[in-house]
């Protein structure tokens, strides 16, 4: 005689495994504690930091205007053309190229087609517009054409075939100064061994040839016809001309709010700063992942699990989905609350317009930072889960994942140069924090989604290794 089970079953497919893993996760107190702790620590740290970090409310000019200016007069419509033969890479945002400017006083409106060593060609105007013209380097032919109030930029590799870069509209007087602008913003250096930074001036230099202004070659003797050199703003500069080759130096920047190189106040990434508490929440989430991954081995519960569900790869998949979803929802609550809770402190401490325009949760950049932080929480939990599953013992696994996230930050901010820190921020799991960036800064190491991809890569490799070993090893 043999017995048959009298209990109906709906099978042990993916739905059943997801339900089982969700039941497991929600029925231990540790999960709830971790969820609350994640939100609480994230918000708390963000609020604390928002109250500590302060800046002087910025009331100065909304632009900086200091450069070496070789210029002459032009009345009405016309073009200025020059071939930039070389540019010294004095700073990634050093600028050199043709410019049309309302006058020689600092702050006079302008349009310029500028080559930079680190950010390619840019058509910039009026301290507020910056159009990306592509990743070019010297030598390159550059041309600006004035048609009424419209300035159009062109570039060419050979001086014959011209490509339109873009155009801008300005309020310009009939007679303007046209010519060549060369400048180079201060460089950022680390001070001592700490995380303090300072600046040093840099001097940009560029050589030009084939310089021409049309209509008409104006003789050197006629009014406004000679090339003059002028320091716009106060900076050390120089100019020499021989046989049609112009060598121009300049220091400073032609920039304002809205142009990416603007070096003055307003360069703090306050959206990322408002989410600084996420790093505290990440520690909790990593621990939760490790406990979910390794905890079952501590009590031999893994044997019960794999007896009930012998297809271990599917168990791991279900567990990953349940944990990632739970942590994403938790992380979204944490990062959105942290952003909102940090706003009053930031406003009170001088982060106000015009340098720091107010933002809201629905701004695209804020949305990317907040949703991205929630995704980062989920990926970190998956990384913890995978390492926990691989190592099987919670304590060593936790030390491993915390080291991966914390050591690069401590080492990077304490001891290394800006460049070394950038490499750490690119190559270690810390790169994931780049998803919070909303401004390009001196310490920007990697693009937001690029950094997120790096941490996803770590999690994916660990998860694949966990999936392979969980099937092969004895439980």
């Amino acid at each position: 005689m043999s017995y048959q089970s009298t209990i109906p079953s709906r099978g042990d497919g993916p739905g059943a495994l997801l339900r089982a893993e969700w039941t497991k996760l929600r029925t231990v107190r540790g999960t709830g504690i971790c969820v609350l702790l994640t939100v609480a620590l994230t918000v708390l740290l963000s609020v604390l930091l928002s109250n500590i970090a302060s800046t002087d409310p910025y009331t100065g000019p909304r632009y900086t205007d200091a450069f070496g200016f070789v210029h002459r007069q032009m009345t009405g419509d016309g073009t200025v053309t020059a071939r930039i033969a070389s540019q010294r890479p004095s700073q990634e945002w050093a600028k050199a190229g043709p410019i049309i400017k309302a006058g020689t006083d600092p702050g006079a409106t302008y349009a310029a087609l500028l080559l930079t060593p680190g950010h390619g060609l840019r058509l910039e105007a009026a301290f507020s517009t910056s159009i990306d013209g592509g990743a070019f380097r010297a030598p390159q032919w550059l041309r600006l054409r004035r048609t009424g109030d419209t300035i159009t930029g062109f570039d060419s590799a050979d001086g014959r075939n011209w490509r339109r870069v873009g155009s801008v509209t300005l309020k310009l007087p009939p007679t303007v100064q046209v010519g060549l602008a060369v400048t180079s913003p201060p460089g950022t250096v680390k001070v001592g061994s700490g995380s303090q930074t300072g600046t040093v001036p840099t001097i940009g230099r560029a050589t030009f040839d084939n310089v021409s202004v049309r209509p008409g070659a104006v003789s050197a003797g006629s009014p406004g016809g000679a090339w003059r050199y002028q320091k716009v703003g106060a900076s050390a500069t120089g100019f020499s001309q021989s046989a049609g080759t112009f060598t121009v130096t300049g220091s400073g920047d032609i920039a304002g709010f809205g142009t990416p190189s603007f070096p003055s106040a307003g360069n703090d990434d306050i959206i990322a700063n408002s989410l600084a508490g996420v790093q505290a929440g990440l520690v909790v989430v990593l621990a939760l992942g490790v406990i979910v991954g390794a905890g079952e081995y501590r009590t031999a519960l893994a044997r019960t699990t794999f007896t009930a569900s012998p297809r271990r790869g599917q168990v791991l998949a279900a567990r990953t989905i349940v944990l990632a979803t739970t942590v994403f929802v938790t992380g979204l609550a944490a990062s959105a609350s942290a952003y909102l809770a940090a706003q009053p402190g930031q406003h009170k401490n001088g982060f106000v317009p015009p340098a720091y325009p107010h933002t809201s949760l629905t701004d695209p950049l804020v949305l990317r930072a907040v949703l991205g932080s929630a995704l980062l929480f989920a990926v970190a939990a998956v990384l913890g889960l995978a390492i926990g599953t691989l190592v099987r013992r919670p304590a060593p696994a936790l030390i491993l994942v915390l080291a991966a996230f914390l050591v690069p930050q401590v080492v990077g901010s304490a001891a290394l140069s800006v460049d070394a820190q950038k490499w750490l921020d690119r190559l270690t799991p810390v790169a994931g924090l780049a998803i919070q960036q909303t401004r390009i800064r001196f310490d920007t190491a990697i693009s937001p989604w690029g950094g997120f991809a790096v941490v996803c890569g770590y999690a994916a490799v660990a998860l694949i290794a966990a999936a392979i070993t969980v099937r092969r090893r004895d439980a």
């Binding site: 089970s5 209990i7 089982a20 497991k24 029925t27 009590t299 044997r303 009930a308």
Partner: protein
């Protein structure tokens, strides 16, 4: 052949240590099969291999004719109790059963039903961390019964149970077998299986020592032994020995002979004029029979332990 569990040529090493060394046996439905051997004989390893948790180095184990890892919703085919300490201490007893039921698509009502069955209905909402070892064993048995399976594997289920609990467990195992299920129970104490097991698989040092019914084992162990009670033991011993029996003293006024029928013992003692108060066929206990069988294995283990320690 309707073997519920079939183990053939099973071999499992952990590093250099051989835990199971060429083990073969079958477990049949409708009876309780005891799996007995000293600690370290390879019982738990064998059970883990049967359940697909550990991979064997050689041989195979089939449950209901299939490899365990190939079973779908296996809780309806096999119920297992491996380690009473396994449930997460922070989880409520009912939730432990609930996630197990979910994983195999079983109705949620099974959690309550099995808690009732093992006498834990009142403790279902308590966290497992506060349970006694006996309560955890009952919870583990509830988990094994969740899918109402035809095959049960229980590793040392009596551990931590009080006498009343052990009696309950015996009754449960007997009634599960009586329903036609195969019940496979391990123990390192033969006494626990007395009056429970119908069949015994005895192992030592990872090898099969005996695969026998309880009745046969007892008959073998008892055969040809006669117990004699007498106040004049030395005279009795010499008389019986000279008549050709193997004699052993088992007490100041008690001896056991081997290789001589009871009638002949009475005749020899009468002829030698040795008075006696009792001559009976000796009935060995399961424990004795087991000790006889496993003595070699235990001695080996003790020697090995001494070597390792030195």
């Amino acid at each position: 052949m309707d073997a519920a569990i079939a183990v053939r040529g099973l071999r499992k090493k952990y590093g250099a240590a051989v835990a199971v060394d060429g083990l073969s046996f079958t477990v049949r439905p409708g009876q309780v099969t005891g799996f007995v051997g000293p600690n370290g004989a390879g019982k738990s390893t064998t059970m883990r291999v049967i359940l697909g948790l550990d991979r064997p180095d050689a041989g195979q184990a089939l449950v209901c004719g299939r490899e365990y890892r190939k079973l779908r919703a296996p809780l309806r085919d096999v119920g297992a109790l491996l380690d009473a300490a396994a449930p997460h201490p922070g989880r409520r007893a009912r939730d432990h059963l609930l996630w197990l039921a979910n994983s195999n698509g079983l109705p949620r009502s099974r959690a309550e039903a099995t808690l009732e069955q093992v006498g834990l209905a009142a403790a279902g909402r308590r966290r497992v961390g506060g349970f006694s070892l006996g309560m955890r064993q009952r919870l583990g048995i509830a988990a094994a019964l969740l899918g109402d399976p035809p095959v049960l594997l229980l590793d040392e289920p009596a551990n931590g149970l009080d006498p009343e609990g052990i009696r309950w467990m015996r009754g449960l195992l007997r009634s599960l077998a009586a329903e036609g299920r195969a019940v496979f129970v391990s123990s390192h104490l033969m006494g626990e299986l007395e009056d429970t097991a119908d069949h015994l698989v005895i192992v030592g040092r990872g090898r099969l020592v005996a695969d026998t019914s309880v009745r046969d084992l007892l008959a073998t162990a008892s055969s040809g032994r006669v117990l004699v009670r007498t106040l004049r033991r030395p005279e009795a011993m010499s008389a019986l020995a000279s008549a050709g029996a193997t004699v052993a003293a088992t007490g100041p006024a008690e001896l056991v002979t081997e290789g001589m029928k009871a009638e002949r013992v009475v005749a020899v003692l009468g002829a030698a004029a040795v008075p006696f108060s009792e001559v009976t066929a000796h009935r060995a206990s399961l424990e004795e029979a087991y000790m006889d069988l496993t003595r070699n294995a235990v001695e080996y283990a003790a020697a090995a332990a001494t070597q390792e320690a030195s």
